[in-house]
C-alpha cells in the first residue's frame, strides 16, 4: 500500500469527508472532548495535523483508539469541521495497512464473559481489526 504523505492525506480527507480548512482554531472540540486527558493528540490537533499532512504521526499514536466516538466534537463544532470523523478516518487508515490490527479476533473473543454485551465485542471486532 502506498504511504506517501499526499496519498495518506488525500485518503483521510476523502473517507472522512472533512474539510480542515473550515477550522477557525477555536479549540471547542478539545474543550468538549470527554477523553482529552488520555489522548496524546487532541481533537483540534487532529484537524491541524491532517491539514499539514502529518498523518503518520497520528496513525502511530494510541490516540486513535482512545476516541470514544461520542461525536460531542462533531455536534458542537461551530465550523462544521467534525474532528471526530478525522480521528475515525485515521484509525481506519491504520487498519488498512498491512498487519496493523490493533487486536486479533481471538484477542477480542477473550474479552467475552457473562456480562460484556455482544455489541461491544462486535464493535471491538470492527474497531480493532480489518
Amino acid at each position: 500500500m502506498e504511504n506517501s504523505v499526499k496519498f495518506l492525506t488525500e485518503t483521510v480527507l476523502r473517507i472522512s469527508g472533512v474539510d480542515p480548512r473550515k477550522c477557525m482554531k477555536c479549540g471547542k472540540c478539545s474543550g468538549t472532548c470527554p477523553n482529552y486527558d488520555a489522548m496524546e493528540y487532541h481533537p483540534h490537533q487532529f484537524v491541524s495535523m491532517v491539514e499539514k499532512g502529518q498523518i503518520e504521526k497520528l496513525m502511530n499514536s494510541d490516540s486513535i483508539y482512545l476516541c470514544l466516538g461520542c461525536m460531542a466534537c462533531v455536534e458542537r463544532c461551530p465550523r462544521n469541521v467534525a474532528p471526530g470523523k478525522l480521528v475515525g478516518a485515521v484509525a481506519q487508515l491504520k487498519l488498512r495497512q498491512q498487519d496493523m490490527n490493533r487486536k486479533g479476533g481471538n484477542d477480542v473473543a477473550a474479552f467475552a464473559d457473562e456480562i460484556v454485551p455482544q455489541q461491544l465485542l462486535m464493535a471491538a471486532m470492527r474497531k480493532y481489526r480489518k
Binding site: K25, C26, G31, D37, R79
Partner: protein, 663 residues
Amino acid sequence: MQKIGVFVCWCGSNIAGTVDVEAVAEAMKTVPGVVFSTHYQYMCSAAGQKLIADAIHEHHLDGIVVASCSPRMHENTFRKTAEAAGLNPYMVEIANIREQCSWIHKDKEEGTAKAIVLAKAAVAKLLHNKPLTAGTSAVTKRCLVIGGGIAGIQTALDVADAGYEVDIVEQRPTIGGRMAQLDKTFPTLDCSACILTPKMVEAAQNEKINIISYAKVEKVDGFVGNFRATIRKKARCVDETKCTGCSLYMNKCPSKKGKDEFNMEMNNRPAIYIPFAQAIPNVAVIDPEQCVKLKTGKCGLCQKVCTAGAIDYTQQDELMEREYGAIVVATGFKPIDPSPLNEYGYAENADVITSLELERLMNAAGPTKGTLLRPSDLKHPHEIVFIQCVGSRCDENTKRGKPYCSKICCMYTAKHAMLIRDKYPDTKVHVFYIDVRTPGKNFDEFYRRAVEQYGVDYIKGMVGKVAREGDKLMVRGSDLISNQQVEIAADLVVLATAIEPDPSARSIGTMLTASMDTNDFFTEAHAKLRPVESPTAGIFLSGVAQGPKDVPETVAQASAAAAKVIGLLAKDHLVTNPCVAGSDELLCNGCSQCEKVCPYGAITYVDKEVRGPGVREVRRVAQVNPAVCQGCGACTVTCPSGAMDLKGFTNQQIMAEVDAICL
C-alpha cells in the same frame, strides 16, 4: 442609420488582464451602426471622459456604448459625460465587461470573445434607444426615522438641526434603545446613561422632532421624496398629554408579574409602569397582558391615585397617516437566545447569563441596584468565566449561530472583566476567547489594560461544557496555549452572545422594499462608497440595522445618514427616472389588466378620442402617470395587445439584445 461610438475601457489591468481590449475595439468597428471604436486605459478618468466627448463632437455620434465596469458603478458618470457633450444621456449603454466578464474568466480568448458579444448586445440595444427626458417630482420636507435608539436619535437630531421636521417611531414605550440598557461604555468607561440621556432630552425638546413612541410603522407607499406611511400608535391607556410621570401608581398596582423588559426580564414590574427613570416620553404605559382592570374589569386603582386624570382604560390604538420625503431605518439589534447552545447550560442555570444581562446586574438602576450578585442566590460571585463568540462566527450548516463576527463582544467583555476586577478585586475573572479583536481607537490598549493592570485571565480556547455541581458551575474548556483541558469551578458564567437584527427589521425591509442580506441586516447601496443608503432611493441606514457596530460607529453612521437625508430634503424637486411605462393608445384594447398588476396605482383608464390611420373614435385607454410609475415593467408583460412598453427597456431593445447574444 445611427452613428454609434464604442469605448472600451482597460480599467488598468482589471479588464485588460483577461480581455484583449484592442481586439474588442477592433471587432466593434465592423458592427453595423458603429462609426467609431476605441480603447483607453481608464475611461472614467477626466482624460477618458474627454476622449468620449471629443469623439461625440468629431464623429457626430448619436449614441455611445461604453464597455467597462458594471453600469451600477459608472452608468451615471458616462450619462453625464454624454449630456455635457450635447448627447441625450439615455443614448448611452454600458457593456459590463468587468464584473460580468474579465473578473470571472481566466482564459483571455474566452474573455475577449464574450466581451465582444456583450458590446454587440449593447450596440444592438442602443440602436433602438430613444432620447428620454427626465421629469421632476416634489419633495416632502419631512423625515421618518424608524427606531429610537442612539442611531435614530442622532439621525433625528442632525436632520432637525438642519431645519427639517423629523418623526421618530419607536416600538417600545420609550426611546433610548439598547444603549439605555448599558452600564458603561468602552473604551472610556463613560456612564452610558450619562451620555445618552442628554441626547434623549434634546430630542424631546427639539420642536422639529416628534417622538411617536409605543408605535409601529404598518404600511409605506410612494417613492423617494413622496412616501406615505401609516403608523399605528398602540393604546398605552395613559393620556400622554396629561401624565406627569409621577409614579404614584407604582405601589398601588396589584399586578406584579410583568417581566421587566428593560432589566432583561430579571425582575418583575407592575402592569402600569415607566420603563426607567429617564424614559422619554416620561409617561406611564399599561401592559394589557398584565392589567387586572383590562383583563377582568375590576380594579382601577391606578386611575384612583392619578391626580392628573391621565388613566384611560378605554383608549384605542390610533392610526395616523404621515407624508415623508426620506425614511431612515434605525431598527437596531437584540442578542440571540443562547438556549439552543445548551452545552453552556443557559436554559437551566440562572447563573449562566448573557452579557446584556450582566450590564443590568452591574447597573445602579438594575435588579440588584448595581451590586454584582448572581441571580440564583444573590451571593457575590468570586470566580467568573466569560465565554466569547457564543453563536458568532458559525458555519451556516451547523445551525449553531450566525456566520458573522458580532464585533462588539471582545471589547465589552474586556470592559466587564475590568470593571469587575476594579470593584471586586478578590474576584477571579477568566475569559475564554478565540481571537481578541480590537481594531478601534484605543481599543487594544484598553484590552491590554484588562490583562496587564487588572489581571484578567485570558484563555485561548473554547468551552465545551458548563455543568452545575452543587453551587458551582463547572466550566470545561480547552487552553490551547498550554495544550490542556481545563476545568474551572465558577460562580457565574457570562456568555458574549451574538447580536442579530431586531425581529421587526424583516417586515420593515419588506415594507420599504429595501434589500436585506441573508442575516436580515439591511444592504447598503454600495459597500464602500454608499454605506448609509439603501439601494432603494430615499431609504437610509443608521446603526446596527446595517451591520454590527459599537456606539461611536453607530453615531458616526447616524450622522452620515442624516447628511444624506438633508441633501435630499434640501432639494425642491427630484429628477425622476424617465424609464417608465407608456401605452400606445392605438393598440390599447382597454382591458384593464395593466391597471390590476401595477403595484403603484400609476395606471388609470380614461375615455379619450384616439386618432390614427383610419381610426378616429373615443376609446377607453390606459394612461400612465410618469411621476408615480417606478418602471418595473409588470404591465408590459401582462398587456395582451402589446400596447404597453417600458422606456429604456422596450420589447424591441431587449429582443435586440437577445438576438445579439444568441447569434
